[in-house]
Symmetry: C2
Subunit: 306 residues, 2 copies
Amino acid sequence: MCKICKTKPIIQLTNTNISLCKSCFLKYFEKKTFKTIKKYDLIEKNDKILVAISGGKDSLTVLNILNKLRERLLFKIEALLIDEGIKNYRGITIIDAKNFCKKNNIKLTIVSFKKEFKYPLDSLIKKINLKPCTVCGVLRRYLLNKYSKKLKATKLVTGHNLDDEAQSILMNQFKHNIEISARLGPITGVISDKKFIKRIKPLYLLNEKETATYAYLNNFNSKYVECPYTIDSYRNEVRDMLNNFENKYPGTKHAIVNSFLDILPLLKDKYKTNKKIISCKKCKEPSSKEYCQACEILRMVGIHKS
Amino acid sequence: MCKICKTKPIIQLTNTNISLCKSCFLKYFEKKTFKTIKKYDLIEKNDKILVAISGGKDSLTVLNILNKLRERLLFKIEALLIDEGIKNYRGITIIDAKNFCKKNNIKLTIVSFKKEFKYPLDSLIKKINLKPCTVCGVLRRYLLNKYSKKLKATKLVTGHNLDDEAQSILMNQFKHNIEISARLGPITGVISDKKFIKRIKPLYLLNEKETATYAYLNNFNSKYVECPYTIDSYRNEVRDMLNNFENKYPGTKHAIVNSFLDILPLLKDKYKTNKKIISCKKCKEPSSKEYCQACEILRMVGIHKS
């Protein structure tokens, strides 16, 4: 029975043993997102919030909740979608994204690899000896940062949830890459020189199961699709292991993230970069080297001349 | 083939893919223990080292290596065994411990729960509603600390290895007990007021498989016995999970411990206790409360009058 209204439950919250009906769960989920925003000061009055969406469950969930909160918290909101050019995948989620934004009257900007870099990801990766996820990640981050500034956004929102964060923490720890974890947390990229946009994660304390349920109950997605390049087997193994522990010992994922949050200020201090951020010689975007990673990839595939 | 002398190998080191024969492995193991001692400054000239032994593989391994190093590093060594009084278990390892110390001419002090507290552990736990491991742990630590001072030791050695440490780190993290991890590390208990003895772990960077192999090759144990109360299922599950990851991704345990060592100074600083350590009103041993945990347990079982 629903803990609040005593009707038929649709979900049991893993961390608390509480069951909730559809209506109470949706309220709980939105309230917890709101509390996360307040707890970590993710959004300020007059922010211009740009939500990075793929059209998948996490990004449409966070966009939906922020759209509901914009009048209450007095901020502006727009959406940005990067169309990498992945056949049988991105085309489907773009339709969901467009439908959602049209229905909710949210301005959506779509930026494509094809238009920006002349080729879609599917073609780019055939020209280069790098993992698809590496090429995609570098170029996507490049475009997100570039268009965040072009659209005069003050914060960039991503749909990362508790599971994503707990997995990343352990993956870095199991590979002794702890300095990379210093860049995690509910709000990142706080660099004073304004070359990088601040990134925020309002779903930071909501887990995968809850997020998937919220998206499902809201019918955000017409069908379930997965990126054909997603073969990060290491993340999958860490995910499975964490799900096993969470099932047996509810609260494990929260404990990992809370332990991490306890030491995050120490990590940020210890690993704060002393590298000077300069402008890429080619594209003028921020870079730690003469040419940024994106221009380096574009040079490797023969789009930029060296 | 043995990487060093090209003879028949007996072990493959998990973290490096190197195979070694018996003789080269024993040298490698002892050298690595020596390096660990040097790296973390575990032993100084003129130290009086007391090795806490159970008679099991880890403690006899560390005792054996330290005994070989005592002339080179100029320290004194003795052994201390706490006989908790656990039927069909401790009696067996005590024989191995006595034989080892006699053969190697090491002074061994045996302290028993029965003589100290009037009852063996097997009887104590029937009088009290606490887990056997809790009762045993508190009373054993109490006696180790008390007799370390009585025997005028400057350092107390334990046989903890890399696997023990990696498990403890994750267990604390998965339960959000990160402040407990601040008490881990290769050398602990560095409290200025000399009420607590410093504890050191020379096998800190040697894993379980290596330690078990070293003990086996040296024939330290007449037979394999396990404590009948060992049902710490949580540690067992973390152990199994870690072994799975280590098998698939060699180096995982080292990565976890090295990640931990990177942040340990920050943890020690953040969680340094501000509690004043006083003397227990009953036994005069160090305590953070009026009565120490050991006296509290003895009061609960009716040995001390309240």
